[in-house]
């Protein structure tokens, strides 16, 4: 297990991160921290740069400026040790359609040197409200919501220190969204898993996050603790209208 030695238990730290694709600025001067053991929500509309920021974390895209820390590891350059601390789910995580759900999970988990037993996979699948028989069916026949749940499920093997989920509620029905929310709270409370969640919907973030940031047009516009007297939605609209 990697020893995390960062001040104030900071497990993710972005420092002036910028990303430009050709002439288009996707992210600019993004700086914020996520502390170990907290549920952190990143709120932003479509095209705000949330998914790019998450892809940056996993080295799928490289920053044009700045850097970030995952635990003790400064990135870029990316190293497998930094990625080993995280489990990820992208907004459109894809799987091999000719393999079953369980085969996909074990295949990807093996890349993290994790070899989960069927019982473990089924246990977490049931927590997510994922129909167990589906695990043994080919992914090509899955619905959008089922694929989303599979993408969340696969990121739990092995259970990482930080779970980075991009729009985990998108594509799920209200019941599915509630099950995801309950799983997040349970893993955070029982296993002290840190969550870094992105969402375009303020209500979802407000329900479970302890701290949040608002990303708008590639810039962090607000970043603070959520308290009962803070309305994320109001702040969000204020920022949008200020423009």
């Amino acid at each position: 297990m990697v020893n995390i030695l960062m001040e104030n238990d900071v497990i993710l730290k972005f420092k002036n991160v910028g990303k430009k694709i050709r002439d288009r600025v996707i992210l600019e001067g993004v700086s914020f921290e996520v502390r170990e053991g907290e549920i952190f929500g990143l709120l932003g509309g479509n095209g705000a740069g949330k998914s790019t920021l998450i892809r940056l974390l996993f080295g799928l895209v490289l920053p044009s400026a700045g850097y970030f820390y995952v635990g003790d590891y400064r990135c870029p350059p990316h190293n497998p040790e930094a990625k080993a601390l995280m489990g990820g789910c992208l907004d459109n995580t894809s799987f091999y359609g000719n393999l079953t759900g369980i085969e996909n999970i074990t295949l990807f988990a093996s890349l993290s040197s994790c070899y989960p037993r069927r019982g473990e996979i089924e246990y977490f699948a049931s927590l997510l409200g994922f129909e167990l028989s589906l695990l043994y069916k080919k992914v090509s026949g899955y619905s959008q919501g089922e694929k989303k749940k599979l993408s969340l499920l696969h990121s739990l093997f092995p259970l990482p220190r930080i779970l980075v989920w991009d729009e985990p509620w998108v594509g799920l029905d209200p019941r599915g969204a509630k099950e995801v929310q309950e799983l997040i709270l349970a893993l955070n409370a029982e296993e002290r898993v840190t969550f870094f969640l992105s969402s375009p919907v303020s209500q979802e973030v407000e329900k479970i996050a302890q701290r949040a940031a608002i990303l708008h047009q590639g810039k962090i516009k607000w970043n603070d603790y959520l308290t009962p007297n803070v309305s994320l939605e109001e702040i969000y609209w204020e920022i949008i209208e200020r423009k």
Binding site: L60, V61, K83, G87, G88, S94, L107
Partner: protein, 241 residues
């Protein structure tokens, strides 16, 4: 190693994996059928069945080596499975070489499974068997197929369309074949990929020309190593948006 293991797991569930091997076995079947129909030409030419298999393997093998091995880079990129893989503690370099390593292994399977089968059949029927010459010829054919696979990898790392890499690799093969047929100096021809289509013959001459064998190995090795390395360097610089 993790990446190679994952490729093997994927291949086991991929019909293309079996399709390529099945085709190489079908070629072996055709050679046996031909020998059955016209045994005299085999007898007079002192040709063994396994030797006769090397030419069709070299001729059709590149197609199997390019398509049969596994999903190529562009396909994984387009499907999004490349991004899912890279969420794991695996570098792009490791992933690429795991995939390429598996393809090279697959090319050996394509060549040596029917070849060993044929050699076994010969041993049972006439008491022949697997020889050093057959091994040399088989390695040469596998390297020839691998040079096409490497070109496919190179182009596949450039494209976002799954058919781009394989088609361009076969296109280069066709171009090389046309240039060779048009004639020209031996100095140029020796560097063309298709010039080495029959290089396995070197191992079946009464006296092996080691100089020629070495130059064929070096040229095909350069295509394979160079193609894969340039493909890896291009791939390392790319992003998955």
């Amino acid at each position: 190693m993790k990446a190679i293991k994952a490729e093997i797991k994927k291949a086991i569930h991929n019909p293309r994996f079996y399709g390529g091997i099945l085709i190489s076995w079908a070629l072996a079947g055709l050679v046996v059928a031909q020998a059955w129909r016209d045994p005299l030409s085999f007898y007079l030419g002192k040709i063994t069945l396994s030797f006769s298999l090397l030419y069709p393997l070299a001729l059709f093998g590149p197609v199997g080596g390019i398509w049969g091995g596994t999903e190529n880079i562009a396909e994984e990129r387009m499907e999004g499975t490349l991004s899912t893989t890279l969420l794991r503690p695996l570098s792009r370099w490791e992933w690429y070489w795991g995939k390429a390593g598996f393809t090279l292994f697959y090319n050996l399977l394509l060549v040596f499974t029917p070849l060993l089968g044929m050699a076994l059949l010969e041993k049972i029927m006439w008491g022949g068997g697997f020889s050093f010459r057959l091994l040399g010829g088989g390695v040469m054919v596998a390297l020839y197929i691998s040079s096409f696979s490497a070109l496919s990898y190179l182009f596949s790392s450039l494209f976002y369309r799954p058919w781009g890499g394989p088609l361009l690799a076969l296109g280069i093969g066709a171009f090389s074949w046309i240039v060779e047929r048009l004639g020209g100096g031996e100095n140029v021809q020796i560097y063309l990929i298709t010039h080495h289509l029959s290089s396995f013959n070197i191992f079946f001459l009464p006296r092996i020309d080691w100089h020629q064998a070495l130059s064929s190995f070096l040229i095909l090795g350069s295509y394979t190593g160079g193609g894969l390395l340039i493909g890896a360097l291009i791939f390392m610089r790319q992003e998955e948006k």
